[in-house]
């Protein structure tokens, strides 16, 4: 192992971290909103539920990489689209990558949300009804928080898997951590050192996120009452 080389590579790869993070944050937020919409659609009507199921089936049944290629190179094949108002957006590799990651994340997140919603006890809902809560209030104050807590471990795994998935954005010319690593390999011809450096960056990032999610799980645990929280550790 050439330590001087590794010391030189690390800062080069870290330069891609902001892009990696922004891809992850944007696609996770977009994915979460879409997942909520899908859940709404599922609850709305038979047709809506069929659509939501079909959406999840398509996006979970195919590799993310092919979804990215289809959106980036596939859509650009149509002159009508290239002359449309959407083109200034879809022209950008960044937008295409976020779009693909977001659509993919929505499929997985909506399934996680479905699991969480199913776990909300009917007792809690009845209690809310008896207390005279309106449907939106109930949703906002009872159902969604309970479902969120229930789904948190699975959602935490989804967050880390999205952070890792941003590495695929490098196939559409984006220079995030993996993209920079690939470029560095083709310049220095030293694959193992460079990819190991990149792996360490992701590993640290994912470990931090996992810790954060565990901490959040602890905080939101039902068996921990606020009174206990305030007691000296």
């Amino acid at each position: 192992m050439d330590l001087a080389f590794i010391a030189a590579v690390f800062p080069k790869l870290l330069a891609g971290l902001p892009l990696t993070l922004s891809l992850a944050v944007l696609s996770l937020s977009g994915g979460a909103i879409l997942a909520l919409l899908l859940s709404g659609l599922r609850a709305s009507s038979w047709l809506g539920a069929q659509f939501a199921n079909f959406y999840v089936y398509i996006f979970r049944g195919t590799p993310l990489l092919i979804q990215i290629f289809l959106i980036y190179y596939g859509l650009a094949q149509f002159p009508a689209l290239r002359h449309s108002l959407l083109w200034p957006l879809l022209r950008e590799p960044y937008v295409c990558a976020v779009l693909a990651l977001m659509l993919n994340d929505a499929a997985y997140t909506s399934e996680i949300l479905r699991g969480g919603l199913r776990a909300v006890s009917s007792g809690a809902i009845e209690a809310a009804k008896v207390a005279g809560m309106s449907r939106p209030t109930m949703l906002r104050r009872i159902v969604l928080p309970l479902a969120f807590r229930q789904a948190l471990p699975a959602y935490g795994a989804e967050v880390t898997s999205m952070v890792k998935a941003t590495s695929l954005a490098s196939v559409v010319t984006l220079m995030e951590v993996t993209g920079l690593a690939r470029a560095e390999v083709s310049q220095s011809y030293r694959a193992i050192e460079v990819f190991l450096c990149a792996a360490v960056i992701y590993l640290v990032l994912v470990t931090l996120i996992t810790r954060l999610v565990h901490w959040l799980e602890d905080r939101l645990s039902t068996h921990r009452s606020p009174a206990l929280d305030r007691s000296p550790a």
Partner: protein, 241 residues
């Protein structure tokens, strides 16, 4: 539309044969990777449940590392580094010179390694779902460990693990698309080549998506049937994770 049929067909101008072969390669890589993952996962699950402290720790670290690194990087690392490791081992064995490790082998091993970490969790969960009473009963009747594993633990755990393993198989198929970066001509690589050659990316990536969807759908059904058969005659059981 007619042009699309010609291009996807099996005629001299059609890419049908290439796509069919590539689809089979995807299946082959996935099957090898899944088998690797099952072996690794079983070993790790055992290490975590009953292994000595050092092995348990090793299994834990393996799980954390593999779940923390993007699949793409694991494949790159295996593709470029795997050969050196294998060669070092082979040279210890008295072998001289390098040992070839093809894109197929590197890809299967890399995805097997990724999947092994996840399968270990599935299998461990399944083991813990075995009612402790059956284990005690087996012990009381004086069963040896291996007999107990074969006749009591494996059948019960496998039944509980089937849905989780089914999910893992689906993930493996999708991850196998990443092996295309090594140049192995599996489905994604084949449709990329065709897309570039014909300059019709939409058509061919769509066709690629359809191939993956067909594989995941059919194998999903197979797993569903296997689950149904395994559950026959069993009381409805809630599977705890």
């Amino acid at each position: 539309m007619g042009e699309a049929f010609t291009l996807l067909g099996f005629g001299p101008e059609g890419w049908g044969h290439a796509l069919l072969t590539a689809g089979l390669t995807t299946l082959a890589v996935s099957a090898c990777a899944f088998a690797c993952g099952l072996v690794l996962g079983t070993l790790c699950a055992w290490a975590k449940i009953a292994g000595p402290a050092a092995l348990r720790r090793a299994a834990d670290i393996y799980g954390v590392v593999l779940r923390g690194i993007p699949d793409l990087l694991v494949i790159y690392l295996f593709y470029f580094g795997g050969r050196q490791i294998v060669t070092a081992i082979a040279n210890q064995f008295g072998h001289t010179g390098p040992v070839e490790i093809s894109g197929f082998v590197a890809g299967s091993l890399a995805i097997g390694l990724i999947s092994g970490a996840a399968q270990a969790e599935v299998l461990r969960g399944a083991f813990h779902a075995i009612p402790s009473g059956t284990l005690e009963a087996a012990r009381v009747t004086g069963m040896r460990r291996w007999t107990m594993f074969r006749r009591i633990i494996a059948p019960q755990a496998l039944r509980t693990a089937l849905p989780g393993l089914g999910n893992q198989w689906q993930s493996v198929i999708k991850e196998s698309a990443l092996v295309s970066v090594t140049g192995l001509v599996e489905t994604l690589r084949a449709v990329s080549v065709a897309a570039n050659s014909t300059e019709l990316p939409f058509l061919f990536f769509l066709a690629g998506g359809a191939i993956y969807l067909a594989i995941t759908t059919v194998s999903g059904l197979v797993f569903r049937i296997a689950e149904w058969r395994a559950m026959r005659g069993q009381p409805a059981m809630r599977v705890g994770g």
